[in-house]
Amino acid sequence: MERSQPRRQVAAMKQSLFDQGLLDEQFIQLEELSDDANPNFVEEIVTLYYRDSSRLISSIEQALKERHTLDFNKLDTLMHQFKGSSSSIGAKKVKAECTLFREYCRTGNAEGCMKTFQQLKKEYASLRKKLEAYFQLARQAGPMETACRPK
């Protein structure tokens, strides 16, 4: 394959995502699953993730609106699910926020939950943007080779 500029850019971008701690090993594994049959596997998964999880996010948001009578169990359950999805795509930071959120749920810390959730939403949105850019670039660069692990 040719070492085109875009490819290098793609690799660099990916590396930076890893360096920032936004993605983890799971993402690599997903990329490894891409093959001729599923060339855009990762992108598909990520798209699916964002679609499904947006519903979860709004449910959580809704539940958090209760302010003073938070149903921690419900929140925990929702977040548990969200954490599962996030970990499946390798969204490292998002997953960490989920864990933190669940801890707050466990201890019944409403304020902690809200704060963490805000943070989580930020991370979630930021990752989405970055991944979108990444995929776009990757598409431009041509079919991806098997992912190489970032250094």
Binding site: L33, L48, Q81, S88
Partner: protein, 598 residues
């Protein structure tokens, strides 16, 4: 192995996997990963659909991978059902890496528990579970009749499940449970012989034999002789005995834990149930079961069981008697809302019932396993520490439905209940139910649980010690925690509140059944349960006369006597305080009558 044979040459390729996960992202990732391993994958995001698929095409799948948290059905429940009905290996999947939840999964019969995100390396090896299971299943030339003994397809599936659980247990216990090998001189590896299915009948015979011999003296050879079952080898008995002991121990632990949990949850006022099993483990066992309407019904009530009468009591507590019956974990016994997950779901408590035992064993898996996780359980811990630990997932799952108990229902091993005979069919569950109901609180429970279990397992002395120890911690609520378990006398029974008393009575007087057992009156399920085990009701002061209890107890508990008595005494003292005299009188009455129905 039939299935596997077909694909032997290129197994595991083409292994047919059913993947269930409500999260589409995860499901898609999983599917792709599995396909990369060259498995044939079917996916669904509904557990109900999964079951339907499995039922329709029983032999179409080799393995099931399922998420734990699903909206339409709990993963553990699916696990049970699959195990029961189809006997397929199930791998649990979850983002939750809490060892307690893992334990629970394994105890419920999962072959394995994977943490998300799943890596392909892990999936590459899952086929081993299929092979292993098939191998075990095929090694069961003996006792095919075991299954026949259970005319119910339900029962046979239960037997299957038990078998499966046993299998799981065997595999998992081998490393862990060496220390449990008391009299059992068998090498755990002996368990790998052709599997014997411990059906209800068989188990009942086993329990009867153990009881006759005395838990301390129950050696496999003698048990085998007493059981007089063809084709049963000493090794089979030995391994079963080992499990039984472990089970008892776990029950104890659990009850302890439970209590602690419950204690916290429950109003301290009520005395926790004291499940003092230890004493009569054996005697009590007999009584167990059947009484309670509790699931154990299916067991033929052992002679003793009836003693405890009040089967209804159990039901009252919310156990579902019968539903649980063998249903392992799902529902039923625990009464808790969640029953399924509750690990401890011991149907029909009562060790006596064979079923119980099996269930116990099965459940044992669930709760036994808990043992490690929860510090509380360990008898070694402070005893009844009523802390709320939520150590084991088990307890956590205990639905609070039972009543208030904020804590989980103590899922004390059924053993405890068993003693009551009716009361709580040994199951802890019943206890829990009871407790929950009233919630009185088990606090004491732990103690008894522990003790009972210990006693059962030939560690009686140990248990007693534990009991004592625990008893001390028990401090339940009302009184000094260290109430010694005075005895289960009927005195206890009368305590309405204290189911414990009843339990106590139960213990002391296994034959007296009824009386205390199940105090269903108070919903305090535990009480009843406790009774047999000698659960000490730390609940309100009971006016039990310690000496009375003690007396009775002593007789029965000769083996365990030592500590147990002390424990009981303590408890009794506590109870006494709480219990008004009239109750005491009543108790006395019971005492003499040997069992008043509650």
């Amino acid at each position: 192995m039939a299935v596997i044979n077909e694909k032997d040459h290129h197994f595991p390729k083409g292994m047919r996997v059913l993947a269930v996960d409500d999260d589409r992202t995860c499901l898609m990732v999983l599917k792709t990963l599995l396909q990369k391993c060259h498995y044939q994958v079917t996916t669904t995001n509904s557990a109900i659909t999964a079951l339907k698929l499995l039922r329709e095409k029983k032999n179409k799948f080799d393995l099931v991978i399922s998420d734990v948290h699903m909206p339409d059905m709990d993963g553990f429940k699916l696990l049970e059902l699959v195990g029961l009905e189809m006997d397929l290996p199930v791998i649990m999947l979850s983002v939750d890496d809490d060892p307690r939840v893992m334990m629970k999964g394994i105890m419920h019969g999962a072959c394995f528990y994977l943490v998300k995100p799943v890596r392909i390396e892990e999936l590459k090896n899952i086929w081993q579970h299929v092979i292993r299971r098939n191998k075990h299943d095929s090694q069961e030339p003996e006792k095919p009749s075991n299954n026949h003994e259970n005319p119910d397809s339900d029962q046979s599936s239960k037997a299957n499940k038990k078998r499966k659980e046993q299998e799981e247990e065997e595999e998992e216990e081998e490393e862990e449970e060496d220390e449990n090998d008391h009299d059992n001189g068998d090498d755990p590896s002996a368990q790998k012989k052709p599997r014997v299915v411990w059906s209800v009948d068989l188990h009942r015979k086993f329990v009867t034999a153990v009881e006759q011999l005395g838990i301390d003296k129950a050696v496999p050879k003698k048990i085998l002789d007493l059981m007089n079952v063809e084709k049963l080898t000493r090794e089979n008995v030995a391994s079963h005995l080992q499990k039984y002991r472990i089970f008892l121990r776990r029950v104890n632990n659990m009850s302890n834990q439970q209590h602690s949990n419950i204690g916290s949850g429950f109003s301290s006022a009520d005395t926790s149930y004291l499940r003092m099993n230890p004493l009569s483990g054996i005697g009590q066992l007999q009584t167990l079961n059947n009484n309670s309407g509790y699931g154990l019904r299916s067991f033929s009530p052992s002679n003793m069981l009836n003693r405890f009468n009040t089967p209804s009591a159990l039901n009252a507590h919310g156990f579902n008697s019968n539903d649980s019956q063998f249903q392992f974990p799902s529902s039923g016994l625990l009464g808790r809302g969640r029953s399924n997950n509750n690990q401890i779901y011991l149907p029909g408590g009562g060790l006596n019932s064979v079923q119980n035992l099996s269930t116990i064993f099965d459940s044992k898996q669930s709760f036994c396993r808990q043992k490690p996780s929860s510090p509380i359980l360990g008898v070694s811990n402070n005893g009844l520490i009523l802390e709320q630990n939520h150590q084991g997932g088990i307890y956590d799952n205990i639905p609070n439905s039972v009543g208030s108990s904020s804590q989980e229902q103590i899922s004390f091993p059924s053993l405890l209940d068993h003693h009551h005979g009716n009361s709580c069919n040994n199951d802890i569950w019943s206890n829990e139910c009871n407790t929950l109901m009233n919630s009185s609180t088990f606090q004491g429970g732990n103690l008894s649980g522990a003790s009972s279990i210990t006693s059962l397992s030939s560690q009686s002395h140990d248990s007693f010690t534990d009991l004592n120890f625990q008893g001390v911690n028990f401090t339940n609520i009302n009184n000094s925690n260290n109430v010694q378990f005075q005895g289960w006398n009927s005195n206890n029974n009368n305590n309405n509140q204290n189911g414990n008393y009843h339990a106590l009575s139960g213990l002391i007087d296994p034959f007296s059944n009824s009386s205390f057992n199940r105090n269903l009156d108070f919903d305090f399920c535990d009480a009843s349960q406790m009774k047999h085990d000698g659960v000490i009701d730390l609940t309100e002061d009971s006016s039990l006369k310690p000496h009375q209890l003690y007396k009775t107890r002593n007789t029965h508990i000769s083996n365990n006597a030592g500590s147990l008595e002390d424990f009981v005494n303590e408890i009794m003292k506590q109870k006494q305080d709480k219990i008004k005299l009239p109750e005491g009188d009543f108790l006395c009455d019971n005492y003499s009558t040997g069992g008043t129905s509650m």
